[in-house]
Symmetry: C2
Subunit: 223 residues, 2 copies
């Protein structure tokens, strides 16, 4: 592993650049009074399905927009755009995470002052996005019941950089024999005190609690 | 994105180092007549559950061993070790993929000549492992029915570096409304002609086809 120190060194520089860019973004978001929520998870944990519901519900009384990252395709922007919200796809090609500079570039033309909420759906990945601050106010880390209860233990870094854990696809909990207590314990052991929401975007169960939390985060951002 | 070219340059050097190490590994595996199968997928797609069954079944008539990568915990090595096979955990900490040097280090003490099959379970990630040759004979890319049919379109690079696509958790296909034809089309469009297996490690459906394929890959390795 003689090559690692060089990579670590370059990564540190890139992360520093990213942190500077993220700090500027956070300042812009704050001045425009827009609450920025990012979503991270493994591929297929249900970020887009959840966001479809969130954009529709919050969009009834608030101005909402979304940026969505993927290596390829504009599928998710197409899905989210049907909610009526302003949505932009960020295609990263081979890059396994979003970076602050990509967010800055993507929101280039948008009038942030007109927005209440901006959602950022990261590339599906439980590792790489952990290191990149995107200037968000709140970071949600999702994992689905089909992935197993031990994901927080196996990917502790991403749980440590997130604010709220969301367990998705609860409608499949019985078919897969999901052990909710074990999952809660796994979250608690890597991030004591982290709030855990359980929901199903498909059935709507638990979504009310998420909406309340998002609205509360807007209030606290305003304070 | 002024930082990218520097990172690309360093990555290229690292990949070159990795390719050299992987080539040496492949030569060693060939000389020892061991068939090396790697598994890549997103977190929770069912690599370990599949491997538990594979190690037990192939272990009845062959000498099998496994290396398993994770950022943290030795959970998977514990699970796989119960099959009776030799198993070693590679803990990568923050690294989102296995590298050839990690494999070389992990097999340090093993007598490869005594093995028929060596399985390598990569870190759960549909992006980073794509670039790292591990000296394997066959790379399986898994995705579960719960992740959605479009994963091959969204993560084309990993499908392009793999030899066989395995759709897992077919026992959940009905509850999640999985469209198998759409998934097959997605694989076909990013990697025309790629074999697609469908199975459930839980019920055992489709596992026979996988065993046949693994045994066939051993025969072809010997030729």
């Amino acid at each position: 592993m003689t090559t690692t120190p060089r990579l670590v060194e370059v990564r540190q520089k890139i992360l520093k650049h990213n942190d500077v860019a993220a700090r500027k973004l956070r300042q812009r978001f704050s001045e425009a009074n827009v609450t920025v929520i990012s979503l991270v998870s493994s591929p297929g944990a249900g970020k887009t399905a959840l966001l479809e519901k969130v954009l529709r519900e919050l969009g009834r009384h608030h101005q909402v927009a979304a940026l969505v990252g993927d290596l390829a395709t504009e599928n998710d922007a197409g899905r989210l755009g049907r909610s009526g919200a302003a949505v932009k796809q960020i295609v990263t090609n081979t890059v396994c995470h979003l970076e602050a500079a990509m967010i800055e570039s993507a929101i280039g033309e948008w009038r942030l002052d007109d927005l209440d909420f901006l959602f950022i759906e990261n590339v599906g990945n439980l590792v790489c996005p952990a290191s990149y601050d995107l200037g968000e106010s709140v970071r949600l880390v999702l994992f689905s019941v089909t992935e197993g209860e031990d994901k927080p233990l196996k990917y502790p870094t991403i749980f440590n950089t997130a604010d709220i854990a969301v367990i998705t696809k609860m409608d499949l909990a019985d078919p897969v024999g999901f052990d909710l207590a074990a999952a809660r314990n796994a979250v608690e052991s890597v991030r004591p005190g982290m709030p855990v929401l359980t929901l199903s975007a498909k059935t709507g169960d638990g979504m009310g609690q998420l909406f309340e939390l998002l609205l509360a985060s807007r209030v606290s951002t305003n304070c």
